[in-house]
C-alpha cells in the first residue's frame, strides 16, 4: 500500500525542487539556448537565402557572359568576313595591277624589242651600205683587167657578203 500512497514530505520537497529547477533552467538555460538556436537558424536561413541570391546573380552573369560571348563571336565573324572580303579585294586589285603591269612591261618590252630591231635593221642597213661601198671600193680598187676577172671578183665579193 505504501507503494501507491503519496507522502507529504516527498511531495513538498519535489514541488520545491522541481519548481526551482524549472525556474533556474528557464532563466539560465532554456531561454539563452532557445534564442541562440533561433539566431543560428535565422543566420543559416539568411545564408541559404543569400546563397540562392548569389546563385541567381551568377546565373544572370553567366547568361550575360554567354550573350557577350555570342556578340563577340558575331563581331569576330563579321570582322573575319570583312577581312576576307578585303583580302579578296586586295588580291583582286593586286592581280589586276599585276596584270596591268605585266601588260605594260610586255608592251614596253615589245616596244624596246621593236626599237632594238629597228635600230639593228638600221645598223644593218648602214653596215650593208658601208660594205657595199667597201665592195664597190675594192672593186674599183682592183684593177679591172678582164671581164672574167671582174666576174670572178664580183662573184667572190657576193659570196663574201653572203658569208657575212
Amino acid at each position: 500500500m505504501e507503494l501507491v500512497t503519496p507522502g507529504i514530505g516527498l511531495i513538498f520537497w519535489m514541488t520545491l525542487s522541481f519548481g526551482l529547477l524549472l525556474f533556474v533552467l528557464t532563466k539560465f538555460a532554456w531561454k539563452p539556448i532557445m534564442s541562440m538556436l533561433k539566431e543560428r537558424e535565422k543566420s543559416i536561413e539568411e545564408a541559404l537565402h543569400e546563397a540562392d541570391k548569389a546563385r541567381d546573380e551568377m546565373k544572370q552573369l553567366q547568361a550575360h557572359n554567354v550573350e557577350l560571348l555570342n556578340q563577340a563571336k558575331e563581331e569576330r565573324d563579321a570582322i573575319l568576313k570583312d577581312a576576307r572580303q578585303i583580302r579578296e579585294k586586295l588580291i583582286e586589285e593586286a592581280r589586276e595591277k599585276a596584270g596591268r603591269e605585266y601588260n605594260r612591261l610586255i608592251e614596253s618590252a615589245q616596244e624596246a624589242i621593236k626599237n632594238e630591231k629597228m635600230s639593228a635593221i638600221t645598223e644593218l642597213k648602214n653596215e650593208i651600205a658601208t660594205l657595199s661601198i667597201e665592195v664597190a671600193e675594192r672593186l674599183i680598187r682592183e684593177r679591172l683587167t678582164s671581164a672574167e676577172k671582174q666576174d670572178v671578183l664580183v662573184q667572190k665579193l657576193i659570196n663574201e657578203i653572203k658569208i657575212n
Binding site: L3, W13, V24, R40
Partner: protein
C-alpha cells in the same frame, strides 16, 4: 486493500504496464503468506522476495548501500518532523535502523506503519503505544536527496550547455552541446511545435525541463548503487507532482474555447447537456483524469521495470535457499533476463520521458487551441 489497489491499477495503467504491474503485485500478494510460514517453520533467516522487492522500490529514511556480514552500510539522512506544532530534526542514524526510539519517535520496520516514522507514547503498563496521529514527515528521504542531486546535475549540465551556446554563438555546436542539441530540437520541433502549434514558445522551457528531469531520473534509477538507485520516477509522489505541474499549466493557460469545449461542447446534441449535464460532467472528469493517467503511467512503468528486475534477482535466492546449486544454475538465467530487462528499461526510460512530455504538450495544445467559427 491490495485487491482494490490492483483493480484501481488495472483500470488506469496502460496495457503494458497493466500486465507487468498486475503480475508483480500478485506475486507480492502471494509472497507474503509464504514468508510468514517460513518465519514460523525455520529459525534461520528466510529470504522474503516480496518484502525485499517492495523495500527496494519504496522510499526510505536512510540510503542503504550494502550488508557486510550483519552490518548494514547506510548513509544516514536527516529526519525532519512536524508534530504537535513543533519542528523536530535529527539524523536518521539515531533510530539505529528502526531498533531504537529517539525523542519520542520510532522508525517502524514492520507492521501497518512499516517504513514510517511514528510518535510513540509510554502506555500505562510501561509498554510503548503508537500515537495514531502521525507526525508530518518532511524528512530528506532517499528519494528527496536523489531529486536534489539530479536537479542539481540537470541545472549544472544545462547551464554549462547554455554557456557553450553563448561561446559558440552562430557556429556549429561542440562537445556536450552537440550531444543534447538533437534532443532539445526534437522536443522543440516535434513535440512542442507539432502539438501546441502557434503558442509553443511559452511551453518549451517546461517541456524541456520535464523531459530531461524524467529521462535522467529514469536512467539514474537503473543504476543499482549509490548515486543512482533511488526509484524516483517510480514513486507516486514524484509523478503526482509532475502531473500536477502539467495540470496547473493546462488549467492556467486554458483559453475561452477550451472552457467552452468543456462546459458547452459545440457539435453535441442539446439533450446531452440540458436536463442532465452529461457531456460537461464527462469533460470535467476528463480534465482530472488526464493528469491522473500521466501520474499513474510513469509510476507504473518505472516501478514495474524495477519489480521485474528485482524479481529475477529474487529467483536466485529463492532457488538458492532450496539448494545452493540450483541457485547457481538459476543465477545464469536470471542474470540474462535481468540484462535483457535492463536494456528494455533503458528504452522505457526514454519512451516514458517522451510520452509524458508529448502528452503534456498535447494537453497544452488543447488548452490553447483557437477554435474558428
Amino acid at each position: 486493500m491490495k485487491r482494490t489497489l490492483k483493480q484501481a491499477l488495472s483500470q488506469l495503467v496502460p496495457y503494458r504496464a497493466l500486465l507487468l504491474a498486475g503480475i508483480m503485485i500478485s506475486t507480492v500478494v502471494q509472497g507474503e503468506p509464504a514468508l510468514q510460514q517460513n518465519h514460523l517453520s525455520s529459525e534461520q533467516e528466510a529470504f522474503a522476495a516480496g518484502e525485499m522487492i517492495v523495500d527496494h522500490v519504496v522510499d526510505a529514511h536512510e540510503w542503504h548501500i550494502a550488508v557486510v556480514g550483519h552490518t548494514h552500510i547506510t548513509i544516514p539522512l536527516p529526519i525532519i518532523l512536524w508534530h504537535n506544532g513543533q519542528l523536530y530534526s535529527f539524523s536518521s542514524s539515531n533510530f539505529h535502523h528502526g531498533n531504537d526510539a529517539y525523542r519520542g519517535f520510532r522508525l517502524m520496520s514492520e507492521g501497518p506503519y512499516k517504513g514510517k516514522v511514528v510518535n510513540v507514547i509510554n502506555g500505562s503498563d510501561g509498554k510503548e503505544v503508537i500515537n495514531p496521529i502521525l507526525p508530518l514527515d518532511f524528512s530528506i528521504t532517499k528519494n528527496v536527496l536523489s531529486v536534489f542531486m539530479s536537479s542539481l546535475l540537470i541545472a549544472i549540465l544545462f547551464i554549462i550547455i547554455a554557456k557553450n551556446y553563448k561561446r559558440t554563438r552562430g557556429h556549429a555546436p561542440k562537445g556536450i552541446q552537440s550531444l543534447f542539441e538533437p534532443l532539445i530540437i526534437f522536443i522543440r520541433d516535434d513535440i512542442a511545435k507539432a502539438s501546441i502549434g502557434h503558442h509553443y514558445e511559452r511551453f518549451t522551457p517546461y517541456l524541456l525541463t520535464i523531459f530531461f528531469f524524467i529521462f535522467l531520473n529514469n536512467l539514474l534509477g537503473l543504476i543499482p548503487f549509490f548515486p543512482g538507485g533511488a526509484n524516483v520516477t517510480g514513486n507516486i509522489s514524484v509523478t503526482a507532482v509532475l502531473a500536477l505541474f502539467t495540470f496547473a499549466i493546462t488549467t492556467i493557460s486554458g483559453n475561452k474555447a477550451y472552457w467552452k469545449h468543456i462546459f458547452n461542447a459545440p457539435g453535441v446534441p442539446w439533450w446531452l447537456k440540458l436536463p442532465v449535464p452529461l457531456m460537461p460532467i464527462v469533460e470535467l472528469v476528463g480534465v482530472f483524469t488526464k493528469p491522473f493517467v500521466l501520474m499513474v503511467r510513469l509510476f507504473a512503468n518505472i516501478t514495474a521495470g524495477h519489480i521485474i528486475i528485482l524479481g529475477f534477482m529474487s529467483l536466485i535466492f529463492i532457488f538458492g535457499n532450496m539448494n545452493p546449486f540450483t541457485g547457481y544454475g538459476v543465477s545464469v538465467v536470471s542474470v540474462v533476463f535481468a540484462i535483457f530487462m535492463g536494456l528494455l528499461e533503458c528504452l522505457v526510460a526514454l519512451i516514458q520521458a517522451y510520452v509524458f512530455t508529448l502528452l503534456s504538450a498535447i494537453y497544452f495544445g488543447m488548452a490553447t487551441e483557437e477554435h474558428h467559427g
